[in-house]
Assembly symmetry: C2
Homo-oligomer: 336 residues x 2
């Protein structure tokens, strides 16, 4: 039975197992320091499709199929998929998975979607609703750039605090039983908006949401940062990570000795000229499903906390002068 | 304990109770035949906001607050909200609920979002993850029209099969116990795409998805249409409802004697000049949370099946020549 602990954390009674995962990324991500940890590096960022929109869907479809293959599970044996992405109306997931025939629940949590998906998937498996749940997200530099910022051909100067949207997807398959790390706790995020309205500084907008969820999780589970081998945030990048570590020290929960951020890990930041690091649903998804899962499976991490952050505005609300509401969802995971 | 029955339906062990609901709609909806069944009719469709985008969020915020008030439950006593809408990056839910302080999971299922929300909410409550879950969605004629079709000022001629987006929101509060109807079964939708690519005929695109889910639900639960007092689809409108009834008769599960559609119910279709009826997340949400919940609470319906349909394209994919992937999520509900 699941148990609510503290203010907002759920301790999972029957711990869902992450029985497989797959990370599929583009060429630029394949030139970064995590190249060996991805399942597939695709040299054609268009994936043979006629548009960037559909190309992103093809990344997600490939990640889902690969995660199934690695687990030896068919689509028909998968009870549902929880999927989303950054495109308007989440069309990467919708079109990418339309032929999968897996029952489909669409999510939108911006760059928090991978952990939103793992959170809800874990709760559904633990509650006995489903035996196997696929969790997947994606992002694509080209589909995101043209939608959120400028036409690709424009070649605008990027701001120092801007982050580079990852081209890639990650998929993780949860099951009632099997071999792999288990999800032990889920802490849902609350929307936090501290008034930041700079679309070129998402890290600053999202850091307070990450802090809010991390503190809730630590207090609810009666743990401290040093109980974890890694406290991994989704994609705050360099600027947001610095803010989060400063805020955490000031709050009495200094995470800096165990903290890392997917947005700081996937690229050689200076050499690859990505300014403040990486972002996008595909950032946390590919780093978690590739790099982190490999280390959990090898026992290099025993207990970790993963918090993905999302910025919940759209370009219209920013043009209207609104600030950026943000959210962060957390799961804690134990290797076995 | 939850039990999977048949191919893809979950029978809920501890049946979640819909302890309250609220429907808040705009002026045009308040002039329709269901006016008496809404909790609030707002004469200012802008809700005192400076943009249509924020106005839609204000509808959703009002519906959530009203549903809490009717149940005598505070936001702090609500474990999470599952919310979404049609706007790019779901900003109506994100901004409307940013001050609510309720842990937040964002969903995107287009016009299927209300039942996607009730489905996941029911599974989470039944699985013991959360004690109280708020489910809410909204749509707004003006935010949808400018985003999906034409600038409001353009005044373009509407196609005969076009549906009018409802301005309104519905919110329903699920709990482990209490007074109200209970959700007994959940059947998740699969993405179905039969090749329709006419953005002005969503009903035709979505009807096959509704049929797929209805047949799965009936077969999984070993029931027939006449076992239900009402089989209610989300918003197929006149054209899509006719197609669904024809398809259902041809499939051996003729639902026509117990079928109705939220898109046919909310307006006086001819007098209010809405062509093929209504659509939008707020259509199913306000009709279900207003009209249907009142009749369940009075015992006028004993057992119903509600299936909300969603069209999962965006304007860009349609301009690129793609067809419209669709989905339909179902819950069955029993009065007590």
């Amino acid at each position: 039975m699941n148990t609510r602990v503290g203010r907002r954390t759920v301790e999972l009674g029957r711990r869902p197992v992450i029985i497989s995962s797959a990370a599929v990324v583009g060429a630029k991500e394949g030139e970064g320091p995590l190249a060996k940890d991805f399942d597939m590096i695709v040299s054609d960022d268009k994936m043979g499709q006629k548009s960037w929109d559909l190309a992103e869907g093809a990344f997600q479809k490939t990640a889902v199929e690969l995660a199934l293959k690695k687990a030896g599970v068919t689509a028909a044996e998968t009870d549902c998929v929880l999927a989303g992405d950054l495109q308007n109306q989440c069309v990467a997931a919708n079109y990418g998975l339309r032929d999968s025939s897996i029952p489909f629940y669409g999510l939108y949590g911006a760059c928090s979607t991978m952990i939103e998906s793992l959170s809800l998937g874990a709760l559904l498996v633990s509650g006995g609703a489903f035996g196997r749940v696929m969790c997947s997200t994606s992002s694509h530099f080209c589909s995101a750039e043209k939608q959120f910022r400028n036409p690709l051909e424009y070649g605008g100067q990027r701001a120092p605090a801007a982050q580079w949207t990852v081209t890639g997807s990650g998929a993780a398959l949860l099951a009632e039983s099997g071999t792999g790390p288990v999800i032990t706790h889920v802490t849902p995020g609350k929307i936090v908006d501290k008034g930041v309205n700079d679309m070129n500084n998402m890290g600053a907008a999202m850091a307070p949401a990450a802090l809010d969820t991390i503190i809730a999780h630590l207090e609810d589970t009666n743990t401290v940062p040093s109980d974890y081998d890694l406290i991994l945030t989704g994609d705050l990048g360099i600027v947001g990570s610095d803010i989060l570590c400063d805020l955490s020290a000031g709050s009495g929960y200094d995470i800096s000795s165990v903290h890392n951020d997917c947005g700081k890990m996937i690229y050689n930041i200076k050499e690859q000229d990505v300014h403040a690091g990486a972002s996008g649903c595909g950032c946390c998804a590919s780093v978690f499903c590739g790099y982190v899962m490999r280390r959990l499976n090898k026992g290099l991490y025993k207990k970790i906390l993963v918090i993905a952050t999302g910025a919940l505005m759209n370009p219209t609300t920013i043009q209207q002068g609104e600030s950026i509401p943000s959210i962060a969802h957390a799961v804690s995971i134990t290797a076995r």
